[in-house]
C-alpha cells in the first residue's frame, strides 16, 4: 500500500510515521513537501505531528492554507483515507475536515506521557483491526483539549464518530484519566463518511516493542486491512 506522509516545514513526527509504515510494516511511505500540489499514487494520507509552521498563531491555522492541503481535500472528497496525528488532527479541525477544535490543555502545560486509550468502535478504516483491549500510547501536546459544541457532540455520538477515549488502566472514562481536559475524554474522531480521522495520541511512537509498547501499530494495520478489503471487494 502507498502512504503519503505530509511534510510541513515544522513537522517533526514525519520521519517517525515513515519509519513505522515502511521499516516496521513494510509498506511504501513517501514524504510529501507542503509546497507540492499532487498526492501522486497515494492510497492514504498521514498528516503527522509537529508544529507545522511554528504554530505561534494557532496550531494548524496556517498549514491548512498550504498548497498540498488542496490536494488532500480533493482526495478526501473522493473518499480517500486521511489520518491526522496530533498536529495533523489540529490541522484537519482547522481546515474544517473534522468537526470541533483542539484548545490549550487544561493544565496549561505541555504533556508527554503514556495514556490508556479505549477504542469505542471498530467500525472505521482506522479501528477495524484493533484487538479487544485498551491501547497504551504516548501523548505529546500542549493543545490537545478537544472541544465541540453540544449539537456537534450529539451528532458525533449518534453517528458513532468517536473512535477513541482516554481511560484509566481499568478502562473507565474518569477525570483523572483525561490528560488534557477534552470534552467527554475524546482522544480521536472521524468524519461522518468515516474516511477522515484524527487523534491526539501518537500511534507511531508505540509500534515497536523496543520503545516500550506496540499497541499503536494496530491503527496502521487497520488502515492496511481496510484497504485490502476494499481491493478484494472491487475485484469481486
Amino acid at each position: 500500500m502507498n502512504f503519503a506522509v505530509l511534510q510541513f516545514p515544522g513537522s517533526n513526527c514525519d520521519q517517525d510515521c515513515v519509519h513505522v509504515l515502511a521499516d516496521v510494516l513494510g509498506h511504501s511511505a513517501r514524504l510529501l513537501w507542503h509546497k507540492e500540489t499532487s498526492l501522486g499514487n497515494a492510497d492514504a494520507v498521514i498528516i503527522p505531528g509537529g508544529f507545522s509552521y511554528g504554530d505561534y498563531l494557532r496550531t494548524g491555522a496556517i498549514a491548512r492554507f498550504s498548497p498540498i492541503m488542496h490536494a488532500v481535500q480533493t482526495f478526501a472528497a473522493n473518499g480517500g483515507l486521511v489520518l491526522g496525528v496530533c498536529n495533523g488532527f489540529q490541522i484537519l479541525c482547522e481546515a474544517g475536515m473534522l468537526p470541533g477544535a483542539l484548545i490549550r490543555n487544561r493544565s496549561l502545560q505541555f504533556r508527554c506521557e503514556n495514556i490508556f486509550l479505549k477504542t469505542e468502535t471498530r467500525n472505521s478504516p482506522y479501528t477495524n483491526a484493533i484487538p479487544e483491549k485498551l491501547m497504551r500510547i504516548p501523548i505529546a501536546h500542549g493543545e490537545g483539549c478537544y472541544f465541540a459544541q453540544p449539537d456537534t457532540l450529539s451528532r458525533l455520538k449518534a453517528n458513532d464518530q468517536i473512535l477513541w477515549r482516554y481511560v484509566s488502566a481499568q478502562g473507565e472514562t474518569t477525570e483523572l484519566a483525561n490528560p488534557n481536559g477534552s470534552v467527554d475524554n475524546i482522544a480521536g474522531i472521524c468524519n461522518e463518511r468515516r474516511n477522515i480521522a484524527g487523534l491526539m495520541p501518537h500511534p507511531e511512537r508505540a509500534s515497536e516493542a523496543i520503545l516500550g509498547c506496540a499497541d499503536g501499530k494496530s491503527i496502521f494495520e487497520s488502515i492496511i486491512a481496510w484497504q485490502q478489503q476494499q481491493a478484494v471487494a472491487k475485484a469481486a
Binding site: 516545514p9 520521519q15 515513515v18 508544529f51 503514556n114
Partner: protein, 768 residues
Amino acid sequence: MTRSITPEMVKQHGLTPDEYERIKSVLGREPNYTELGIFSVMWSEHCSYKNTRPLLKGFPTKSPRILVGAGEENAGIIDIGDGLAIAFKIESHNHPSAVEPFQGAATGVGGIIRDIFTMGARPICALNSLRFGELSSPEVRRLFSGVVSGIAHYGNCFGIPTIAGEVYFDKSYEGNPLVNAFCLGVLRHEQIARGAAKGIGNPVFYVGPATGRDGLAGAAFASQDLTEESAEQQRGAVQVGDPFMEKLVMEACLELLATGAVAGIQDMGAAGLTCSTCETAARAGTGIEIDLADVPQRAPNMTPYEIMLSESQERMLIIVKAGREAEVQRIFDKWDLPWSKVGVVTDTGRMVVKNHGQVVADIPAKKLADEAPIYQRDSREPAYLAGVRAFRWESDTTDAVSNLKTLLSWPTIASKNWVYRQYDHMVRDGSVVGPGSDAAVLRIKGDSLPPMPADSASRNGKVAEKFIALSVDCNASYVYLDPYVGGKIAVAEAARNLACSGATPLGTTDNLNFGNPHNPEIFYQLKESVRGLAEACRAFNAPVTGGNVSLYNQNPNGPIDPTPTVAMVGAIEKAEHITTQWFKDEGDVIILLGDLLDKEDPLLGLGGSAYLQAVHGIKNGTPPRIDLEREHELHQGLRSLIYAGGIKSAHDCSDGGFAVALAECCISHQLARETPRLLGADIDLSAFLEARLDALLFGEAQSRIIISVRPLDAVKVIERAKIIGIPVTRLGTVGGTALRIKTIKGEFSWPTSELHDFWWNAIAKLMS
C-alpha cells in the same frame, strides 16, 4: 563616528588596564569603539577561557575513537563504529536564565543544538542539568517553572527528545540558577563539517533571521558577577529564541552540507558575528572581510558595534565554495529562509569589518581568537574546609519510617515527572529508556542521520542500529565539602549510571559552574574539582571531548556551590543488554554489588548526605571516599554480568543512600498516566550487627549497585560476582505491596503506594 576610548569605557567592557595595553599592542594603535567591543567579547571568559585554560589542559582528551577533539571545533566527535559518529556538548545559559528564565533557558537549548548541527550532525537528543534555590521561595518557583517551560518550548517545537536530566534544589543557587543544556547529534564520518574559512576568494554567507539589538554582548554579561542591578539592566542582553526558525535553519544547513558546496560553517552563538568571523578565519589561517551593510537588520540605524555584538538567535555563517552560490540560494529559498552574501575569505589573516565600504574594524584574526591573555589565578584552601573535616555526626536519632518519606519527597530526590512530562521525550522514535531510570537509552537508526547527496550510492543503504546511553550528574554538596573528591564522584556517578543501563563510556563533556575566580578560595574549588574530574575521566576511559566554563555564578549572599556538571555518553552493544532500574517480577532475588558500608569508617557515608540535609538541615561533613579503581572494577563486573544474561534490573545508590535507592527500585516504573507499576521488597539487613541505622539506611557510601535476578540465576550470579572479585550480598526478594527492611534495630515497613505518592507528587504539590 569616532569616539576615543577612555579608561571608563575599558572598565565598562570588563577589560583590565593590562588587557587594554595588550589590545593596543595587538593592533599597534588605539582601538576604536567597535574594536573595543569586539575584543571585550572575544576575551571574555565565556569565549576565551582565560581563567581556566591552564586547568583544562589536565583533562584526558585522547582516545582512538575521538575524531574531533576538545577545543578544535564547536563540539567534539566520537566514532561509534560502522562509519557512524556522535557529536555532543554541554553548555551553560545561567545568567540569561536568572534574568529571563523562559527565554534564557530556551535560547540555551537553541545554542547547543546549533553547536551540534554546525558539525554536520543531526541533533537527536537533548539533556539538561538544572539547579535552583529552594522551592519554598515564590521567586525560585517562578524561575524553575520559567526555565522548564522555556526548555520545553524550544525542544518540543524543534522536535528533539529531551530524554534525561537532573534537577537539584539548594539555597546556594537562589538568584543564580544553573541551566546547563546538552545536545547530541549523529553523522557519518565523511559528513564532519568544519568551522574554518577555507579557500581564498570564497564567498561568506549569512543565513537565518535578521540581526537585532537583542542579546547585545551576552558573552560579556555572562562573564561578570550577577548582582541585583545587573539583572535588571541586562535584560536587553537576553536573546529571544524561535525554535521553528532553528528547525528550518538546521534542515537547510544539513541539506546544503550534503551538496558539498560548503567550505566552512559556524553558528553565531556567543559574541555572534564577531566570534564566527574571527574564529573561522583563525582556524583556517586566512582572513575574512565582511560589509555590515549586507547583513540583514531588524532594527533601523544599528551601529557597527551593535551588529557585531548582537546575539540574535538562529543565525549561521557559511563559507561557500566559489561558483556554487546558486545552491545556497536554491536550498534556503526552499526553506523560505533569509540569506545574504556578506563577505569574502582573504589571505590577509585579518578580520576586516566594513560598513558601506568604510572600514570600522581591522584586527588580526588569530590574535583576537586565540591569544586572549591567560591568567594563572591564586588559589587558597577555603577557610570553611577545616570545619568540614572536623565535623562528625554523632547523634543517631533516626526515625527510619518517617525519614525515608522525608527523603523521597525532598525535591532533589523526588521524581522529576513534573519537569519531564512537559518535555517531549519521545519524538524521533528512538527513546528506548526515557527519563526516570539511571541513564537514558537512545536508538540510532537510518533516519537519525543527516541527508546524503542526491547521487550518493549509500543514500538508501541500511544503517546498522546502535544504542547509546546518556547521563548527566553532579552532587555539588560533595564538591563544596571536598572539591577534589566531589569532582571524582561526579564522574563516577555518571559512569555508574551508564554501567547500570548496560553501557560502556565513550566520552564526557563537562560544564564547570563556579563563582568568581578572582577569589582564591573559589579558584581552589575550581582547580581541585577539575583535578578530580580529570583523574576520574581517565579511570573510566571517558575522555573529555569539550565543554563549557561558567564563572561569576554568585548572588549577593555569596557564590554557588561549586558545580562541575558531568554529562557522559556510552555505547550499548546489543538491545538485550539494555537494563533499567526498577524491579520487574515478584520473586526475583535482590542482590547488592559493592559494600553496603565503608569498611574503614561506617559513618563516612553520612558526610554531605541528603539525609543530613533533608532531615537535619545540615550540609557538612567529609563526603564519602571513592576508590576509582574499585569503582571501575564494579562497573566492569556489572557489565559482564549483564552480558552473561539474567540481570533484570540495576540501580545505583546515590542521593539518599541505600533505602532511597531500594524504594526507587520498587516505585519508579510508571506504565502510564496515573498508573505506576509498584512492586514491594523484603530485605534482611540483620547480618549488619554493628551498623548504626542512619548510616545503614541513608549513608551514601560510593560504589554500590542494587540488582535483581531470577531466583534460578541468583546463585550463579553471586558466584560469578565473587569470581570477578566484586563484593556481593544477597539481600532479599521482590514482592508484596510494601517495602520491608529488617535490621537488628527493628523491622520497618512502608506501603509502596504511599512511598510512590510522596515521591511522585512532591514537586507538583510544591508548585501548585
